[in-house]
Amino acid sequence: MNVNFDLQKNVLIIQPVCDLDHHHVEQLREVIDYNIGKKEVHHILFDLSEVSFADSSGIGLILGRYKKIGEKKGQAGFINVLESVKAVLKISGVFLLAKEYKNQKAAVEALSKGGRK
């Protein structure tokens, strides 16, 4: 599998282990949504430590999952975004919707208490 999941409090940590391009995004979408659908999941956190490449298809995936968690009034966040990947994500403005956190602990702390306004 190309993606690891972990649940911390009510935050689903999604760690893709592949390039976030069109080819891989097609494979990831379904399994991520299946996990987001579980009732104990209120928020999502993208751990991009194992993502060394992302393009606009990856942005599409992230925005789509942001929408999905929004249906549950949840929030999204990022940790461990490599510099080059960050450059692409910045163009998309996705950091206006989902914040990048210093580390997993801080992210889970902040997200688990929040809700979408």
Partner: protein, 141 residues
């Protein structure tokens, strides 16, 4: 230095990673920075993905060509397909415009290509195909 390479392959999504590796290996001789390599990879990745999804609408027998030419200042890249073509290029270039919202396309492919390149030109004709021309100057060492 005045090297070129041209590669053709089918419109199969496995070739997205392939063309990124090809582009990265080809420009290595220019001693690019890591960010330069990332941007060139992204440019070809976006254009080839578009040829696969939009140009050939996921029919893998379509042929995509990528040509790269290197000189002292940087790299000239052409990506072309013989797919369906673009009706309204101006609209296609708009940030967030996509004709395939149902496939969760972000509509940011062209915006990212423009952001990462120094010049970009799109030529397309409905029913004949699309050619993208990109020039990218590299910072080098």
């Amino acid at each position: 230095m005045n090297d070129f390479m041209e590669v053709s392959f089918n419109a199969n999504s496995e070739n997205e990673a392939f063309i990124r590796a090809v582009a990265a290996s080809f420009i290595l001789r220019l001693n690019p920075t890591i960010q330069d390599v990332y941007e060139v990879k992204t440019i070809v990745s976006e254009a080839v993905t578009n040829a696969i999804i939009h140009g050939y609408e996921d029919k893998p027998d379509g042929i995509i060509k990528v040509r790269m030419q290197i000189d002292e200042r940087g790299v000239h890249i052409e990506i072309w397909d013989d797919g369906c073509g673009i009706e309204d290029i101006e609209q296609a270039l708009e940030p967030m415009y996509t004709s395939k919202a149902e496939q969760e396309r972000s509509g940011l492919g062209f915006s990212i290509m423009e952001e990462f390149s120094d010049k970009m030109r799109v030529k397309s004709k409905v029913g004949e195909g699309t050619r993208i021309y990109v020039t990218k100057y590299l910072q080098g060492e």
